[in-house]
């Protein structure tokens, strides 16, 4: 248990005594929010999931890329 406490205090004291780190963590969190919430949800849907029926992705991709006989 002692080592668990030590690890806890390593992180606890570390985060508490951050100076420049606070700014950097803020930037990281804002960036992650923009990437995962704004960009991923609103601008980067999974094209195949949106257009192909579930379980029929292979057929959908083949219809996208294969040449077929008349």
């Amino acid at each position: 248990m002692r080592w668990l406490t030590k690890i806890w205090y390593l992180y606890y004291d570390g985060f508490r005594s951050m100076t420049l780190g606070r700014t950097l963590w803020t930037i990281i969190l804002v960036k992650l929010f923009i990437i995962f919430v704004v960009l991923k949800l609103f601008f980067f849907p999974n094209y195949i999931k949106e257009h192909a029926p579930e379980g029929d992705e292979a057929e959908f991709v083949s219809s996208q890329i294969l040449w077929v006989d008349d």
Binding site: L10, L24, I27, I35, K40, V61, D69
Partner: protein
Amino acid sequence: MVNLLNIDLAAVDWARAQFALTAIYHWLFVPLTLGLAVVMGIMETLYYRTGKDFWKETAKYWQRLFGINFAMGVATGLILEFEFGTNWSNYSYLVGDIFGAPLAVEGIVAFFMESTFVAVMFFGWNKVSKGFHLASTWLTGLGATVSAWWILVANSWMQHPVGQTFNPDTMRNEMTSFADVALSPVAIDKFVHTVLSAWVLGAVFVVGVSSWYLLKQRHLEFARKSLRVGAIFGLISSVLIMLSGHHSAYTVAQTQPMKLAAMEALYKGGTDQPLTLIAGISPFRQPDYETQDEPPLKLAVPYALSFLATNDINGYVPGVRDILDGYTKADGTQEPSLEEKIERGRAAIAAIAEYRGMSEGVKSEGVKSEKFATASGNLQTDSSLFTLKSSLEENMPYFGYGYVSDRAQVVPYIPVCFYAFRVMVGGGCLFILLFLIMLWKPKTWNYWLALLCIPIAYIVSEAGWLVAEFGRQPWTIQDMLPTWVSVSQLGSSAVMLTFFLFLILFTLLLALEINIMCKAIKKGPETNNP
């Protein structure tokens, strides 16, 4: 035959531009992380061995700059994966099984190694033993470098697809040998060359920042010693990168001869080929490689290209026209002409279409999987399916050529490859000179040169990526998938919108990083010597 491809060509270009923009921005952060990781490890090792607080403060200073860069760069590469799913869905689906393993390993390694040891490195001073702290600092760098390995494995597979077979039932490439994918010669070369280039950039950064303090007459002892460590580290990395560069060129010559021909503007190849130093190639248009034998005003080093590409000063190096027309390789085998490749590519496409058509027919009769299993399992209950599979296996390496209709489509844009290659090599030579000067007799004007070399190092590093990525055009997977087939059927306006969104976001992030970094540099290390 009917072409079902209904791709907006502008969308392909915008998707390419967006991917390039994201990769270029991401690559602004990565090399400094990898380079500073070694520098801070060296500084802390000096502290560990000498016990002098000076080295501790020096290590802490470079770790702070590492932290700033790390925080700014973290997760910027994730956007590339989003782009795969949205803009490059066909490509993404076809390679999903190959990329899954390396990227999963990368994610786990990056998360556990970096998040654990970064925390000990920044929070652990005076809390853990000196030895454990030193190990954490080195393991932070190792974690970042191992992450780079897996990303480069994925990239290398696109440049030289190995260790997979295409399954027409699932329409995916499926991994048959993880070892072949992870340890392909292209992956090893790319990893070594890329990491060494990052080390050189890190060394230039350290030398440049130290020079700034010397110009400002601040933190003189710190600056002189950091400059010396940076210059020695940079010089060793530069010598190693020359060796790895030679090996990379050899591997490119074996696996992507068109890339090498474009890098060299070699229109008509042959034996005893010279290496072009410079030539009169317009940066704004594709040169006439079909009728010219070589570019005008060519200044070259005799035999050097043959040596670079074949390890033999008399070796045969194919030019653009040779590759298009077909040529005999050094081992005596014949490289097919473009026309043959197109024919074989179309045969592969037709085989898949026919196979899938029959598959659907059998599926509707309710006996699909058994019948196919027997066909591929040599029981040959259905000989036509077996024939189709054989045809597919034979022609699949040329699958992508089935979508090619013009010779110009398979020739990368030569001016970019040609000049980016020269910027990369020329920059590398300049840095060797810089490191030598800094070790020999650093003077005021050298400090200015060192400062100027920081942005140059970034340009050179990006030029390396341009060579690698422009040189393989038009392929997203070498010979197997061209860009215009890889892309989703999106309108160009959607991709254009996210392109500019990224441009704004990344530029803000970069401006923020430069601002925070400059403030940290101005503040300087917390050594006794102001």
